[in-house]
Symmetry: C2
Subunit: 214 residues, 2 copies
C-alpha cells in the first residue's frame, strides 16, 4: 500500500502510527502542504483525493481518505494488535476521546483554517494566541477530565495498550509543543503522551523522523 504523506500533517501522523503498530510496510509519496502553494491542491492529487487533504492510502488501487476511516480499515483488515477494545461501551469510550480530538480540536486549527483566518485580516500572532491555543486548551481541558476521572485510563488513554485514542492524542500534543501552547494543566495527557512516544511505533512515526522533515 502507498501512503500520501506529509511529515507535519497530524492526520498523516496518526496513520503512520497505526501502520507501525500493525507492522505494515508501506511506500510513501510526499505531498507537501507548503511547497507550490500546497501540492494537495494540484490536479494530479485532486484526482486521488477530491478533499485535497492529507493523508490518503492507496490499497490495491482503492484510495481511502480521512485518517480515522483509514485506521478503522487497517484495524479490520489487520486485526493484531487491536486498536479498539472488544466491548462496545469501551469502544465508544475510545472513539469518544479520539473524535474529541479529531473532530473538535484538529480540523478547527489546521493549516487551511489558519490561512483563512489570515485572509480575513488576523495577524499570525492573534491566530496562534486567540484561536489555535484557545481550541487546544478548551479541548484538552475536557479530555483531561475525561481521562483523569476514569478508572479505565491506564498507562494509555484506555488500559495498558495503545488505541485509536492515543493515536489521536500524540499528534495533537505534538502540535501543542510545537506551537508552545502551555500543557501544565493537563498532567494526565502529558503523562500518557510521554509514555506513548517511548514506544517504537510512535517514535518512528514522529514528524522529525520522516524523509521530508526539514
Amino acid at each position: 500500500m502507498k501512503l500520501y504523506d506529509y511529515a507535519y500533517s497530524s492526520a498523516a501522523y496518526r496513520v503512520r502510527i497505526a501502520l507501525n503498530l500493525k507492522g505494515i510496510a508501506y511506500e510513501r509519496t510526499t505531498i507537501s502542504l507548503i511547497k507550490d502553494g500546497g501540492q494537495q491542491h494540484s490536479e494530479a492529487y485532486k484526482a486521488v483525493n477530491p478533499q485535497e487533504l492529507i493523508p490518503a492510502l492507496d490499497v490495491d488501487g482503492h484510495v481511502l481518505g480521512q485518517s480515522l476511516a483509514i485506521i478503522e480499515y487497517l484495524d479490520e483488515t489487520y486485526p493484531a494488535p487491536p486498536l479498539l477494545p472488544s466491548y462496545p461501551v469501551e469502544k465508544a469510550r475510545v472513539r469518544n476521546i479520539a473524535y474529541a480530538i479529531a473532530c473538535d480540536i484538529h480540523p478547527v486549527n489546521n493549516l487551511r483554517m489558519r490561512a483563512h483566518l489570515k485572509a480575513l485580516g488576523h495577524s499570525d500572532e492573534e491566530i496562534m494566541a486567540k484561536w489555535y491555543a484557545h481550541w487546544i486548551t478548551v479541548g484538552f481541558s475536557a479530555l483531561e477530565t475525561m481521562v483523569s476521572t476514569s478508572k479505565e485510563t491506564g498507562a494509555f488513554c484506555h488500559g495498558d495498550t495503545p488505541t485509536l485514542a492515543d493515536i489521536c492524542l500524540v499528534p495533537q500534543m505534538a502540535n501543542a509543543y510545537r506551537f508552545k501552547v502551555p500543557v501544565d494543566a493537563f498532567p494526565t495527557l502529558v503523562r500518557i503522551d510521554k509514555h506513548c512516544r517511548a514506544q517504537p511505533a510512535f517514535a518512528a512515526a514522529a514528524p522529525e523522523k520522516q524523509p521530508d522533515a526539514v
Copy 2:
C-alpha cells in the same frame, strides 16, 4: 436509554436518525444551546459530558459522548438494519464521506466557532458569508465529486440503503438550507438528501419535529 438532545444540534440530529432507523425507543432531555447562556455549560451537564457538547447518550448509567461514537455503538449493539456496509473497503468509503462532514465541515461551523469569531470582532453577516458558507461550499464541492463519480453511489450515498454517510449528510444539508447557503452546484447531494428526508426515520428526526422546536 436517554438522549441529551437539542432540536437544532446537528450532531444530535444524526443520533436521532440512527435511533429511528434502528427502531430504538428513547427518553430525551433537552439541553438548550441557547437558553441560560447555553445549558451545556451548566455544572450539572458538565458532570454528564465534560466536553460540554450535545449530544450524549446515557445507556444504563454509561454516558457516551460524540455523535459518531454513539452511532457506531448503536450499530454494534443493534445490528439491524446495518448502518455500515459489510466489506472493509466499502466501510472506509462510507466513513470517509461521514468524516468529511463530521470532522471537516460541521465542527468548524458550529455555534461555539461562530460565537468565538464574533468575540474576535467579526459581524454576524461576515461570519455567515465568509466563514459558514465558505466551509460548507468547500466541503460540499469535494463531496459532490466523491458521490457523483462513484458507481457505489445509489439512491443513498452508498448503495440503496441508508448509512452513516447519509446520517451525516442530512443534518449538514439542513444547515445549508437554514442559513441560505446555495446548493445548486451539488445536485447529487441535493438528490440524496431529498430521498433521505422522504424516509420516516429521517423525517421524524428533523429539528422542527422535536418537542423543543421553536
